[in-house]
Every structure is written in C-alpha cells, then in structure tokens.
Symmetry: C2
Subunit: 378 residues, 2 copies
Amino acid sequence: MKKEYLLTPGPTPLPPQVSLAMAKPIIHHRTPQFQEILKEASRGLKWAFQTANDVFIISSSGTGAMEAAVINLLSCGDTALVVQGGKFGERWTEIAKAYGICPEIINVEWGKAVSPAEISKRLKSNPQIKAVFTTLCETSTGVDNDIQAIAAVVKESSAVLVVDAISGLGAVDLKTDAWGVDVVVAGSQKGFMLPPGLGFICLSSRAWKLVEASKSGRYYLDLRKAKKALDKNDTPFTSSITLIIALNEALKIMQQDGLENIFQRHRIMADATRAAMQALGLELFAPLAASDGVTAAKVPVGIDGEKLVKTMRDTYGVTIAGGQGELKGKVFRIAHMGFITESDIIMGLSCLEKVLTKMGYKFTLGAGIRAAEEVFLK
Amino acid sequence: MKKEYLLTPGPTPLPPQVSLAMAKPIIHHRTPQFQEILKEASRGLKWAFQTANDVFIISSSGTGAMEAAVINLLSCGDTALVVQGGKFGERWTEIAKAYGICPEIINVEWGKAVSPAEISKRLKSNPQIKAVFTTLCETSTGVDNDIQAIAAVVKESSAVLVVDAISGLGAVDLKTDAWGVDVVVAGSQKGFMLPPGLGFICLSSRAWKLVEASKSGRYYLDLRKAKKALDKNDTPFTSSITLIIALNEALKIMQQDGLENIFQRHRIMADATRAAMQALGLELFAPLAASDGVTAAKVPVGIDGEKLVKTMRDTYGVTIAGGQGELKGKVFRIAHMGFITESDIIMGLSCLEKVLTKMGYKFTLGAGIRAAEEVFLK
C-alpha cells in the first residue's frame, strides 16, 4: 500500500469534485451547454484576476500564455525591461530573444525581490522601453515580488506592466485593476487547483493598443482572434473542453471560499512552514521576500539535497520539489498552494523531519511540527 | 431523463477507462512514474503514426501543432504549396500568411479530393516551393485525400510533404514512413478518443534539415526544444499530465485492437452511413472521395439544415455536426470516428430518420437503417 501526497508548486493536488468533473462524458464545444460553462468560467476568471477586462483561455501551458503576452505586445526590434531573478524571469528573456525583441535585463540576486526603485531608474534612463516583464511568485527561488509597488512606478512611464502570475495567482493577492497592472498571465496547475494545460491572460485597454500595433507573426496565440471569439462566447480554436469544465468547478470552490480567505489560508500555511524551517535550524533561501505560495529552504551542509527529495517521494510518497537550474541540489521547496490545508503541511513537515533525521542531520525531533502548530493555533 | 450521444468529428466520445484515468489523483511530471507513462505513450504514438521517428506532444489544440509545422519548416519569404479544399486547408494558408510565408494555393472544389497530378504540375513549374501542405481528412467537407499518391509525386521534388491528419489519424490509414510523408500533424480529440488539448507532430530527417534552417521566431512551438526534451524523456514545458495519462490509456486500447481492425471498423461504419444516406434519398456531399471518418450529406431542399442538427441534439440528445463556413446550413455531418460502433451509427441514423420525418421530408421510414444493417451483415 502506498499513498501519495503532493506538495509541489505545480501541479498542485486537485479537489475530488474537480477530478470527477473530468471523468464525465465529454460534450461538444459548439453547444449551448458548453457555452454556458465557458460564460460562467469567464466570469469566474475575471473575479480571480480582480479585473473587469476579459480573461482569455489558451490551450497551452503557462509558457504559451507568456509567449502570447510577448508577441502580441511587441515587435522585432522593440525594447523590453525584464526582471530576472530566477528561472521564470529568465524565461521572459528567452522568449523576447526568440522574437528579436531587445531585453534590457535587471539581474536580481536569486532569493531576493526586485527593487521597484531600480525599475523606475531603468525606465527613466531608457524611454525606449515599451513593456516591463516581471514575475509575481518566482517559484524557482520562493520569492514574491511587490507587484503593487512595481505597478506604481511603471505607471509613471509609458511602458505597460506584464506580470507572470502563473505561480501565485489564486494564492497571493494581485489586484490587477486596482493596482494598474496591464497584463496578467496565469496557468491552471497552481492556485487554480487544476491539471496543467490551460494558460490565462488578461489585458488592459492600454495593452490592447500595443496588441493592435504589434507586427509580430502570430496565429495560434493571436489575442485578436481570442477576443473576436470571446465576444461570441467562444474560443478561436477547439477548446480544451475537459479542462475548462474542471476550471469551472474549481472556480466555484474558490468563489465559495472568497479571495480574502484564500489569501489568508496561504499566508498562514506559509508562516507555519517558515517557522518550522527556522525551528529545524534550516535557512530560508529568500528570508526577506519569502513567497506565500512556496517556501524554499537551503539544504543543510553535509546533506544530499537530491537524495532528500527522492527519499521523501520514494519511501514516504511525499513529493516536494528540489532546486531548479543553478539551485539544483542546493535548495528544496515545499509548496503550500492550491488545494492544500494545514494538515497537509504538518504531514509534509513530519516527513521532512523523519528523512532529515535518517540522513544524519541534527535537530530536536518534532520541533518543526511544534513551531507550525503554534502558528496554526494563533 | 436525458441521455447524450456524440457523433461529431471532434470531440469524439471517450472510452470509460480513458475518462476514469483523468479522474485519478494528479502526479508530478518530473517523477519516474510520469516518465514511464510518457515513454509508453511516445512508443504508442510512433505505432499509431506508423513511423520510426519521434512524435512530439504539444499542449495545444491541433492548430498549435499545424503552426509548429509551418514555423519550424519555413521562414518569412519562403514559398509553400497549399491544398485548399475546405476550412482546414484554408487554415494552412492563414497560418502561412500570418508569418509572411507565400502560399501558392491549389483551390480544390469543396467536396472533391485534390488531384496528385495538379500537385506535381505546380511543383514542376515552381521549384521555389519548399513544402506542400495538405489535409488527410477535410472534416469540413467529408473528403479523404489520397495521401499515398500525393506523397509519390512530392517525392519527385525537393519539397517536403506536410499532412494535417488531425482528423483521420487513428481512423483511416496513413503509412507515414512507408509512403514517405515528411511531417504528420494530429490532435487528441478525433481518432485518439481523447478530449481536445494535445497536438502531435512527427518529422522525417529531411524535414529536420528545414527545422534547423528556419529563421522564424518561435519558442513555445520550437520543435528543437521539444526534441531536446524528448531525448531526455521529458517535455520542454509542463506537460498536460492528465491528458497524457489519458492518451496512454487510449493508445493501449488502440494497440489491443490493431491498426487493420481499426481502419476496417471505420470503413464499414462509413460504408453503412453512406448506404443509409442513399437509401434515404440524400445526396453525399463528397461522393467521389468520401471520408471514412465523417460523412457529409447535403441538406434536402426545403429542410432547414441548422434546425435539423438542433432538433436532433435538443430533442433527442444526438449531437451531429452542421456545415462550417460556406457550407453552413447546407450540409450535415455524421462522424464515425474514434470510440464509435455499429450500434451508435444505427442510433444516429434512426434519430435522423425521425427528425427528417417530423420536418416533412418524404422517404420510406426505416430505409436508412435497413441499408446500414445490410452493410453491417455483409
């Protein structure tokens, strides 16, 4: 007998009613029945994105939606400011370069948040910058950037602000319209408690002006087509029917919960996880900008980080994430995002304690759990 | 009580074991468990595509995979020969134009198959043509093109042959390697008996030379990235985990059945459907090149084609397809593709007979069913 537990920053576990919705007989996408579901899901997405603008659903991973943002806003030769403080910041740069867009890069030390003042400085010194690309939760380092403060400085320029919120949306607050964020990109397999396979994107009217001016070649990811279709309550190409039906179920659960409750639950689970790391004598990788969606901790000296993750998974069925890119083997990451509760966190922390003990790391057994419980009882 | 029946050319119904596979708890994509599934699915896809080359899985609708073919093979300014005999042939042209590729168009009368001799003539008169884009089953008109004959003439030129087999693969024969087809594109929601959301593409070594030479901007659909990932038994971006698990289940069913049995089943169901149309006095839209995946019939004079489709769906729960584009209201289409049996065809034909009768069309009640039964009993 083996039971599996998922504490990874995408995919995140699925609520059973979402899983079961996908097992229902498939329906055709050009029917009133599916149109009703698409309409409801679109309404729910606006709520989750905290925007009055349309949120488009793309059949793609989150990266497809990121690319849609880049090529619909900019053309070859344009300049973009890219915040690069981890693997997903780097992705903005890679996409821009693939299309001949010139990225001006702000290299942020991994584990730190970008300074809004630095963004402001760069925008002032280079008026060519048409768009600023940044990340809500840099999953690779466990950092949440201060999007509200970034939006405030970008608003002083003529550039649009694009936020990769693939990791983070539906877990931490992002007031798209109220803060003046122009473009928000998200994906299905994190805060939305769905399998991967859907990308989401919303755009302000300021961003739409760029979409209409962009000369980039585009077809599948052409947002003008997406808009034309959505105006008729449709998608430009065959919808990922099953995933959209599941999305609608997940959005219902989220709406019953309410955004404030969702954000608070994530904050408390993050606080508890961070407190546990400290109680275990483990160093947070991003102590000053720690994400409420995922906690990254440094692997202690003398411990094999990859083996730690592998043992938790293969011996105990608890899947957490290791480090990516330059952090491979150096950090481990526990996600507290989506369909995750206090009890799941306790379970994951206990497994960590057991495996660390077996690997020879010294600490007071139970100290992590106790610290987490203290946070939960507050 | 209402029971739904789906006889549409995508999505097609799902076998229950495929549906239930999607309801299982989600697993992480960077685990040995998922890698085993991906490896098995990749092997199964090669079998279904009848190729020794890799088949790449893209998280997108079929159109995304079509776009991958265009932009990975060609650059702005290149010339492509496009066979355009329906809505999906037109899609090749639209994608090419979106990227500044010059389409030389063979306009085929809707309802007819392209003449391989015409393709040969065009290739000889324009040696600039780098690629020929055609369609296996033109779902919009119910036509199957003769890919084997097309491949034979394209092989005499330096151009590569690209076949949109989104509709048709897994239903009608396409011997990719044996016939010398360079690129085959498919999708999940037709012969593969899955929900929409996955695109597939395989390429010959000749086609790979073009991929390496293409100057088109590309990132999400960059097949060089897909190849690099697949060589490590991975996908370049987060996999559509649930759909790939379902794919693996569907491929197991298909492999137990065997390709010859699958093609024969589709051929017999198509023959029966065509015989029924004739027995009902209905004219086939594509009598000379009728597809074994979907039958298109002309709506008889005096009958409202859209109302016919709507009544079958809303009164009897039987969803067939109407006409697309210029054929809207003029044809109806019954798919016999994927998880469909003789009994489903009888059920659909009976519903058609009832609704045609109610709408005032004159014929011998039961004649269609009888003609179909005669084919099935042969």
